[in-house]
Symmetry: C2
Subunit: 384 residues, 2 copies
């Protein structure tokens, strides 16, 4: 096991009707809250009104329209609004994009130079406005980690790591997911699945606690996923799915292990160039990437085959191939395609994608930094 | 899954040589630190000197002699010392008893009435002195939870739950465990194992994430346990054992599930009456308790048999019996007896024990509150 530090002070408030606890969760000295949300589904479902009613003791302002892959320019409008209104608490009501955007705003409000420098020049955060979350779309884990991704035009920029970017609390009510469309549910399951594999399918350095926890999350997603898609209001499967997505990226399965975020790195540019949903890009990259990294990930892929998919017998090579095929079948069964042709992309598009990835491919992606432009093209050609 | 809240802000600093980070982990405004420790092994191993050298920028005082089952009267001496010396940070260097005692002192220093009322009358904590931990004996999980057990004479009193009873940080260096005697290692493994079963072997309410994590910790203890006992300086097995004991009781596997702490409740009085080590009392109670609660714990016991012990085939009844036998064999293999006769206790002692448990047996122990005096006697007779 590698040395590690783990610190995660987010208060999780999980379950039915937990929204009633919202007023007492807000920092006691907060007076003016900015509610942040996305494209408006929280208005349609009545959730926003419910929240506004429960927070009638506070001054409230709203900042909606934070869309998937939250744009820097849009978020800066929110920063200006929060500053001019002297907001002292932010409440993100939404999924990963709303929460990611809110984290950026929480820090940008206090940044003494151009907040763009926090992204482009990695300038350290100076201070943050406290924030909380009401999660509507289980997927990214942003509600219980200190990371965020912000977009500027076609560029997606990772941001975070500072402990002040943890939410003060996150309310996770599985019944809030009942109104989600199938596509978002499928995306959420795949997103969480790949978050786990990027912390688990790397080099084996003898970390059984983390490995068994990772396998537990993957098995839960595999078992609960179909129920989540088929049953619109089955509390148990929604609860298990919701908690699985949070545990997939709250840091615990990632302590002391080797990470490989190359699927995310390649996927980000697939979103930037072709507008494919974040989770859907991961389903395109992961299976082919695993096939091309079979040797370096051999130990863990065999562990994955046995402990997650229950595959035994045959040759190690065959067990690995079966596990990758089963993963691909699972994504497809959720309505999430695993081939680029589903988006009408061909070799020409792959070349464009590789070009856009040139700066990071030069230093090499993957836990062994061995995914260069040539290998990345092989991986993507394998996903055609 | 039941509704739950989860909040755990302890910063874990895990690995070789992490003690070098100690000075920067102390609260920046602390000036005077009280080092708390146990019977003196930290002096013999040189650990205390190492810590004192690294904290030479602070004023230091010492309060040693906090023995297993920390006594209220002893701890109150520490409280008086900390108050008269105007200590503003406590550093626990030890195992569960030292940390538990330090938690109590942290709150007692600030208690406006007699601190005994925090235990006897459950008076709420008013404030705490911040504290950190350097863990020397992986077992109780106290380094990453907000609970504590304090003894007054023969009475063991649980205390805690207030978020101010979380350590600011806990340093977990597996190499510090190299000097531990076999008996303490065996005890530590059993203690953690039973912490997990008391959150896992209850009623099945569809909580796969928690169940798979619990099973992962149990499997790790089963696999690493023998290596921990046999190999004195094998880093990997010590690291996995250490992390397993922390994860066993940091709250995460306990969210949203039904608990049954009856093995601990009965065990506490075995310690109080006969001076048997805490973990050793758990090994005496658990196997027999599981046999007598076979029906109500049936689903989970079958899960335990299959997922933890790999037992398949035969009748459900036989699989459960095999799983309990294997658990018992595992404890014995660690040098931890599972029968009362190992301590020369007989039916007369059981009767005395039952009598001492009368107040809690009246309301009933176990997740179904069905362990009364008659059943408790059956369970203990099964452990003769």
């Amino acid at each position: 096991m590698n040395n590690f530090e783990y610190y995660n002070p987010v208060k999780i408030v999980f379950g039915k009707d937990q929204l009633t606890k919202l007023p007492e969760l807000i920092s006691p000295n907060a007076k003016k809250i900015m509610l942040t949300y996305g494209g408006g589904s929280v208005i349609k479902t009545g959730l926003l009104d419910k929240i506004k009613n429960s927070l009638s003791d506070y001054q409230l302002i709203e900042f909606g329209g934070i869309l998937p892959n939250p744009q820097y320019d849009k978020l800066m409008q929110g920063v200006e609004l929060a500053k001019s209104e002297q907001v002292d608490f932010l409440l993100a009501v939404g999924g990963g994009s709303v929460i990611d955007g809110t984290k950026f705003m929480a820090a940008a409000i206090h940044h003494p130079t151009d907040p763009w420098n926090m992204l482009a020049k990695r300038e350290a955060i100076v201070d943050t406005t406290a924030f909380g979350c009401v999660l509507t779309l289980p997927a990214t884990g942003s509600e219980m980690n200190a990371f965020s991704v912000v977009s500027k035009g076609n560029e997606k920029i990772g941001f975070g790591g500072d402990p002040r970017l943890y939410a003060k609390f996150s309310i996770l009510d599985p019944t809030i997911t009942y109104t989600l469309p199938e596509k978002q549910l499928g995306n959420g399951i795949v997103d969480a699945f790949v978050h786990v594999t990027e912390q688990y399918l790397t080099q084996d350095i003898n970390t059984p606690i983390q490995d068994r926890m990772a396998e537990g999350i993957l098995k839960t997603l595999i078992e609960e996923g179909p129920k989540v898609i088929e049953l619109k209001d089955d509390y148990d499967s929604r609860a298990n799915y919701m908690w699985a997505t949070t545990c997939a990226l709250n840091g615990l399965i990632g302590v002391g292990v080797i990470h490989d975020w190359s699927t995310h790195m390649i996927g980000h540019n697939l979103t930037a160039l072709y507008g494919i949903d974040h989770a859907r890009t991961l389903a395109l990259v992961l299976p082919s990437l695993l096939r091309y990294q079979k040797e370096s990930k051999k130990h863990k892929l065999l562990m994955f085959a046995k402990n997650v998919w229950g595959i035994e017998g045959k040759t190690p090579e065959q067990r690995i191939e079966m596990a990758i095929n089963k993963t691909e079948d699972f994504f497809n069964s959720l309505g999430v395609p695993t081939k680029l042709k589903a988006y009408k992309l061909d070799e020409k598009d792959i070349d464009q994608l590789i070009e856009s990835l040139a700066p990071i491919l030069q230093t090499g992606l993957g836990e062994n930094r061995d995914i260069n432009a040539i290998k990345a093209k092989e991986i993507l050609m394998g996903a055609l």
